[in-house]
Every structure is written in C-alpha cells, then in structure tokens.
C-alpha cells in the first residue's frame, strides 16, 4: 500500500474533521465534486454539512473563515490555486493576520494553497507566493516537501491558534508516495536535514527539496557531500538549523521555486550573513525562478524554475570558489 502527497492531504482533513467538531472546509468545488484536485474526495459525503462549496469569492471565503474562527471554529479554506488567493489577499493579511494582535482574539484558520509549477500550467496556475504571505506579521506559512509532512503539518496547521497559509505543491501531488502515514512528526518551526553532507549546504523547501536531493546525488558521484536542509516552514524560519548546517559546511546555496526579489532565499541569506558571517567560506548564493511570469511550454517552464541540473551547476560553481 502506498499513499500520495495528495491523499495525505485528504487524509489529514478527514482526520481533522473526525477528531474536531469545530473543523469545517470551505472552498470552490470541494463538496460533492471533491475539489479540483480531489483533495476533499468523498469528504462531503462522510461529513455532511461540513465540507461546503463556496461561491467564486476568495475575499468572502477568507472573511467568512475569520468570522467563524472568532466564534471558535477551525475552518480550512481551500483556494483552488494559490494564484487565485491574491483575490482574497486582503482578508488574509489585513483581517486574519491582524485580528489577534488588535483584539486578543485568536484566528485559527488554515488556508490551503495548491501552489507551484507543473508542466503546462502557465502564468496563473503555477505561482509560488509564500513569501508575500510570510512578509506579513501574524501569519504562519508552511511548505511541506514530503508526504509525511503534508499530513502531519496540515494536522498541526488546523490545531494552531493562528492563521496558517498551507502551501501544498501541486507537482508533488501525484508524484510523491510514501508507504504509510506518519505517527509522529517534527514540530512546526523546525527544519529537517534531508541529507547530510560536509561540503555545501543547500537550503530549500517544498518541491525544490527533491531537485536539491537529485542534485546532491549527482554531485556525490563527483565526490562532493552536499547537505540539504528542508525548511518545512518558511515562517517561522528555523534559522538555528540553517546556521548549524552552514557551520558544518561553510558554503550556502538557497534554492526557491519562487521569484527572486525579496523572497525566502533572500531572507535566509540575510539571516546567515548577519548572524553567522564568520561561518561563510564563500559568498552565499541563491537560485530562484526567473523574474518573469511562469511560462506555459514545458521547455520554457523547465528553464524558468530551478531544476536538479541547474541546482547542481550552481552548487559546482560555489564548490569551486
């Protein structure tokens, strides 16, 4: 038996609905249809009245979730694509994210963002916008890279008393498989060493963890030992684990599928440079998508985002410094 990343997300939601009567799911096409990606397959039937289709109104979807959270519920909002969440951006960053600070009332909402590029998805179904949410105070931004994390971190998100942006990578939905669901997990805010090494640290998250691991496998044939840090959550960002890794290797490459300007990779490099300058034996580097909208054709798309090949090339360059 094996379970995919997508099935883990469905199972986590089923688990949350079963365990906690305060949980409900609200989003477009998620009811009887089971969601655009089938992340809520059969849940509406299993949990009547708690898995509800919403109108195509991202702003009002989040607003409703905030209102319900004020009343003590724990809503999960499914955005059909992360790209569309910008329509509801105001409610997330101004309503949900400020509520606790302003009023001392917690806002336990989870907004699921199916995000990231897949072949042929183009400019409006591929975006990685975790950094703009992470920029705002009052929000937790999670970016699971494994089936196990997809499951346990979604459960943790629903259990958290603050707004959580849950970035689930569409590229991993069907590709990634695990033998079974995990029974224990690292807490939110802890990064994971996905591969140990001593020559160079690659800090990354979500789907790029797998590109980095593939690059590390390739570089191992050349005699390099690459350490790969999976951030798991981009906010809070586990600076300690990153710095501990850089202390071992002296070289840092940050990889993100998101656009480069002011993003997670920039934040990691800023922190390492400021807090552990004396650990760097080479200028910290980063590799991101190109600063254009995400292209449609697979050839363009593969060149637009970092891949195992371009990660390996960037790592080689840094290793030679």
């Amino acid at each position: 038996m094996s379970i995919t990343y997508l099935e883990a997300i469905r199972e986590a939601q089923a688990h949350a609905l079963r365990d906690d009567p305060r949980v409900f799911i609200y989003g477009q096409d998620i009811g009887a249809f089971g969601g655009a990606f089938k992340a809520t397959k059969n849940l509406a039937k299993e949990f009547p009245g708690r898995v509800l289709d919403s109108p195509i109104s991202e702003d009002a979807m989040v607003g409703l979730a905030v209102g319900a959270a004020i009343e003590g519920m724990r809503p999960i909002v499914e955005m059909q694509f992360a790209d569309f969440s910008t329509v509801g951006f105001n409610q997330v960053v101004n309503q949900a994210a400020t509520l606790f600070w302003r009023t001392n009332v917690s806002c336990p909402i989870t907004v699921r963002l199916p995000f990231g590029g897949t072949s042929g998805s183009g400019p409006f179904h591929s975006q990685c916008i975790e950094a703009i949410y992470a920029h705002y105070p009052g929000i937790i931004v999670l970016t699971p890279a494994t089936v196990e994390d997809a499951y346990s971190m979604l459960l943790a998100a629903v259990a958290t008393n603050d707004p959580v942006i849950f970035c689930e990578h569409k590229f991993l939905y069907y590709h990634l498989k695990a033998e079974k669901l995990p029974s224990e997990a690292l807490p939110i805010g802890k990064a994971r060493i996905a591969r140990e090494g001593r020559d160079l640290t690659i800090v990354t998250y979500s789907a790029m963890v797998h590109e980095a691991l593939a690059a590390a496998t390739e570089l191992a044939t050349e005699g390099w030992e690459i350490e790969v840090v999976d951030l798991r959550s981009v906010k809070p960002l586990d600076t300690d684990t990153v710095i501990a890794s850089v202390a071992r290797t002296g070289r840092l490459l940050c990889v993100g599928e998101a656009w480069p300007w002011g993003g997670v990779t920039a934040e990691v490099i800023a922190r390492v440079s400021a807090e552990s300058y004396g650990l760097l034996d080479a200028p910290p580097q980063r590799l991101n998508a190109k600063d254009t909208p995400v292209p449609y054709h697979p050839n363009l798309w593969a060149a637009h985002r970092p891949t195992a090949r371009s990660v390996a090339a960037a790592a080689r360059k840094l290793l030679r410094f």
């Binding site: 593939a214 590799l287 030679r320």
Partner: protein, 397 residues
C-alpha cells in the same frame, strides 16, 4: 517503415500522470489519426489517448491498471514515411528539458545541459595572488586562533584564483600538529607583531660608507667611552633637529610631526630585541648621553626598563655591526618612519691623492631604512649624508 511512439499526453491542467483502464484496439490493428486507442483515468476524469496519425499498432508497452507520467511512451505505431512526414512526426522530438522524471526515477542527468543556470558568477578575488582574499570564515578562524595573514603564507590555496579555503586552512592546521611545536616567547610574539605591522608599509633602504677614524680617535679621549652607535644616535638626533619632517608619520593625508627628538636604540635581549629611548637626544651632549646610554643598555639586558624609557621614539638606531655584519636592511618600528643602521667597521684602502698611495681607513656602512610614503630616496640620502658628515666631526657631537 518508421515507428512513432504513442505518448501519454498532457490531459489537463496540473495532471502529471494517468492510469491505463483499457486498450480500445489490439496490436496489429490499422488505426486512423485521432482514433481513440487507450482509455486512461486521471484524478479528474476518464480520458482517451488518441493515435498521432494513421498507421498500424506495432505494440503497446504500457500495462493495464498501471500509472504513467505525462510524456511516457505507451506503445508504438508503425506508419509509412509519407504519413509520418504529413503528420510532422518524422523528426525526433526535442530533448526533454524538464527534470520531472529525474525526481521520480532518480535518473542520472549525464546529458549536457541545454539550460543555463540562472546563477550569476561568484565574485572572484580581485587580486589573483592566492591568499589575498580571505573569506569571513577564514578570518574568523584566524582571529579565533590568533593568526595573521603572514601565518598563511605557506598554504597553497585550492580555491578560486588560488585563495586559501577554510578546508585548506584546516588541513594546514591539522598538519602543523604532526610537527614539533614549541611555544614562542612573549617577546618573540611581540617582535613578530611589530614587524608584521611595520611590513604593511612600502619600506626602502639606502646606504653610505662612512670613515670612523676621527670618531674612534675622539672616543679614546672620552671617559666613559661612548660606543659607535651612540655617535650615530647623537648625529641622527642633531640631523633630525635641523629637519624633523623626515621623521614624521603619514596618517591619511597628514604628516604627523615629532614633538620631541626622542631616539631609541636596539638592544639584543634574550629571544628578541628591546628598544630603550633617550628623550630629547638633540638637547644633550654626547658626554651627557653616554652615562644614560650605558645605564639603559644594562637595564634592557635585565629586562627592567623603566616606563619613561620605552616607546614614543621618532627613530631607532641599530648597530648590526656588533654581529660582524657590514650591511643590513633593518625594519623601522611600526610607529616610526626611520631606522638608522650601523655596520661593522673595517680597515679599507683609500686612495690618498696627496700621498699618491692607498692609506688604511676604518670604514663602516651607515644604512637608513624608511617609509617610502613619507620620504623618497633623495631626502633619505641627504639625511644620511648629514649624519655621516656629523660622525666625521665627533667634536661637534
């Protein structure tokens, strides 16, 4: 006849794979372009894979109920060359640039990259002479261990442009531990530090032979007897009193002038050198200086120099002639611009025009090492000439 692959098509937005439900035709069947061949199921819907053009099904490689990724080959279609050309399928498909498959199957990506990495060049050390570039980590490690750049001179760097990487450094340090190590004395470390700091400046040396006969004759008449170095010291003090700017220090765009002609002299002590200082050496006669000089030499050897007799001098005199050396290029102290050296005296033949023959003359080399930022060869030469002239007239000292 050419064979064309039957490929799992992109079946919709964000669909990465699909499972085979049924084959709608059998191998060997003749099919038309666009005809449904295989029924597949995605997470969204049931769809069909169609024939890319007319031909005969050669084989199906896909298996029932198995999932295949978008782009996977599901079977082969045998077509006429004409048909293949008409359908535009006679050219091989472009090399796939996506890394989709490498994630799932961990295929080695040995092919040459068609995709330029978006990373830009790392800064290469501007000065490609090895150890000139030191990374923050290297500096931090050196600081931690109390090392300076000079200590790294023996490491062959393996980094960009020959820079020393931290790995090179750690290997070097580990290797050191294999060898015999003794603790350097604090005096040695202090001298090393002073010399290293001084060496950051462009230093130059000029030299001049000076006849010592008059000086030696004068010395005999004195009691107590001043040493040759004290004559040099006194001559230097008088010369500097006439023009103290040459002993100034350059700080930024300013020359810092000496406020008093305090001159030091080098005394060899155990495992190092001490430099006692005579204050206002221009204002005391040789006779007055000699007592103080001898006293300070003795105190220095006992390592008991009083605080007012160390530091703050504007130049130093060093008598390397006591080691039998005739020529040297001493290094001034870091806070000084000048160091005057005195070589060993030797009997040298000098042509006496009046007598028409060689006569023996006791001669020694005077050297002046200086910070070339503050003065040039000409000024240094003139200063040295003046000192030599004074030493030839010891009664003026």
């Amino acid at each position: 006849m050419p064979q064309i692959p039957i490929i799992m098509p992109q079946l919709g937005e964000s669909i990465a794979e699909a499972a085979i439900i049924s084959f709608l035709v059998q191998p060997g069947a003749q099919v038309e372009g666009g005809q449904d061949l295989i029924e597949v199921e995605t997470n969204k819907a049931t769809m069909t894979v169609t024939a890319p053009c007319s031909g005969r099904i050669e084989s199906f490689s896909a298996e029932l109920n198995e999932s295949y990724a978008v782009g996977d080959v599901l079977g082969k279609l045998e077509v006429t060359a004409e048909e293949a050309k008409r359908a535009g399928l006679d050219v091989p498909p472009p090399e796939k640039t996506g890394d989709t498959e490498s994630i799932v199957k961990q295929q080695p990506t040995g092919k040459s990259s068609r995709v330029e990495p978006t990373i830009r060049g790392l800064p290469v050390p501007a000065n490609a002479t090895g150890a000139s570039y030191m990374s923050p980590r290297l500096k931090a490690r050196m600081h931690e261990l109390g090392l300076s750049a000079a200590d790294l001179a023996g490491i062959a760097g393996s980094g960009a442009a020959g820079r020393v990487t931290v790995e090179d450094f750690e290997k070097f340090m580990a290797n050191l531990e294999q060898q015999k190590l003794t603790k350097a004395s604090s005096m040695r470390v202090a001298v090393a530090d002073a010399m290293r700091r001084s060496w950051t400046r462009p230093l130059a040396t000029v030299g001049l032979p000076v006849a010592l006969d008059a000086l030696l004759a004068h010395r005999k008449s004195c009691n107590p007897k001043p040493g040759p170095a004290l004559y040099a010291l006194r001559a230097l003090a008088l010369a500097l009193a006439e023009n103290s700017a040459v002993a100034g220090r350059l700080v930024g765009t300013n020359i810092v002038h000496p406020s008093s002609i305090d001159v030091g002299f080098a005394v060899e002590a155990e495992d190092g050198v001490l430099v006692p200082v005579i204050r206002a050496a221009n204002k005391k006669s040789l006779k007055e200086l000699v007592v103080r000089y001898d006293e300070l030499v003795e105190l220095a050897r006992q390592r008991k120099l009083p605080a007012d007799a160390t530091g703050g001098s504007v130049a130093t005199v060093t008598n390397f002639g006591t080691f039998g050396l005739i020529w040297a290029t001493p290094i001034p102290l870091p806070e000084q611009t000048l160091v005057l050296g005195l070589g060993a005296g030797r009997k040298m033949p000098h042509w006496d025009e009046a007598k028409g023959q060689f006569v023996p003359v006791t001669e020694a080399y005077l050297t002046l090492s200086f910070d070339h930022r503050v003065l040039d060869g000409g000024a240094a030469g003139r200063l040295l000439q003046r000192i030599a002239a004074l030493m030839k007239q010891p009664e003026l000292l």
